[in-house]
């Protein structure tokens, strides 16, 4: 598990077209472990897209990662991911498939959604939820935005860790 301030694990994961991508070297990178089937992930989804849109001009990259076991949750299959991307549900956010679940394990991701924000040096600067309540869109990913603002301004986020809330990551059995 990566502690706040430590260098986060590097990785390379394919997008829904099968093209591999690694971390970007952006001034800040937001990793969101998410999925298709979970109501918490869906409830926060528009806020994730809004954050990606609003911080794109400052060079921030937002990456969505689905690590769930499609054998037990077919709605989280690569094909289902592809359908959402083709339908425009992900906007400009790349949707990456962690089929082996290794990246989720390396980051100790627990829920969908679970958010990790890295700085330009790849150090983990925030981990947790986008904001305090999946049911209140007016919160607008406030916790993640505050962390991003601090990182981009060269400050430490006032709150570096919050409790991720959502469906458990669906690990493979056995």
């Amino acid at each position: 598990m990566t502690a706040i301030g430590q260098t986060a694990p590097a990785f390379e994961l394919p997008d829904t077209a099968g093209q591999p991508h690694g971390l970007t070297g952006a001034p800040a990178t937001v990793l969101v472990f998410t999925c298709n089937h979970c109501p918490y992930a869906l409830a926060w989804h528009e806020r994730m897209l809004g954050l990606a849109r609003d911080y794109a001009e400052r060079g921030v990259k937002v990456l969505a990662i689905n690590a769930n076991d499609a054998a037990t949750h077919p709605r989280d299959s690569l094909e289902a991911m592809r359908e959402r991307v083709e339908a425009g549900d992900l906007g400009d956010v790349p949707y990456r498939h962690d089929e082996s679940q290794q990246v989720a394990r390396d980051y100790d991701a627990r829920t969908t959604p679970d958010v990790f924000i890295l700085d330009a040096d790849g150090r983990l600067r925030y981990r947790g939820a986008l904001d305090a309540d999946h049911g209140d869109p007016s919160l607008d990913a406030a916790w993640a935005r505050a962390a991003l603002d601090a990182i981009l301004d060269g400050r430490d986020p006032e709150t570096a860790e919050t409790k991720p809330v959502g469906c458990s990551i669906k690990w493979r059995k056995g």
Partner: protein
């Protein structure tokens, strides 16, 4: 005959305390005793199949799902749509209230 109100949940999904609180509030608002609520944990795939449990939480009033869906039994979090179209891990409290009110109204006097 009293209205049968049942909440089925899987503990792997964190939504059931909110669903229970909103359900009990709706029951109390309609003059039903929240103590009559039957709460059933669904802990295994076999139990999900046996109960026709399509996700957590599931609320049944007189055996009828408050938002019926055609999904297979599964230990998963259930996706609801609120009346304003937003996704939610729990049903719209107004839908629960209305379903209870209908069942209550249909009771023989």
């Amino acid at each position: 005959m009293p209205v049968d109100v049942e909440l089925l949940f899987w503990d792997g999904c964190p939504s059931h305390p909110q669903a229970r609180a909103e359900l009990e509030a709706a029951m109390a608002d309609l003059g039903l005793d929240p103590a009559q609520l039957v709460v059933t944990e669904v802990p295994t795939d076999d139990a999900a199949s046996a109960n026709g449990f399509v996700g957590s939480p599931t609320i049944r009033i007189d055996g009828v799902d408050v938002q019926p869906v055609d999904d297979p039994p599964a230990l998963t979090c259930r996706v609801y749509r609120l009346r304003d179209g937003r996704f939610s891990p729990t049903p719209d409290p107004a839908d629960v209230h209305d379903a209870l009110a209908r069942a209550f109204k249909d009771q023989p006097t």
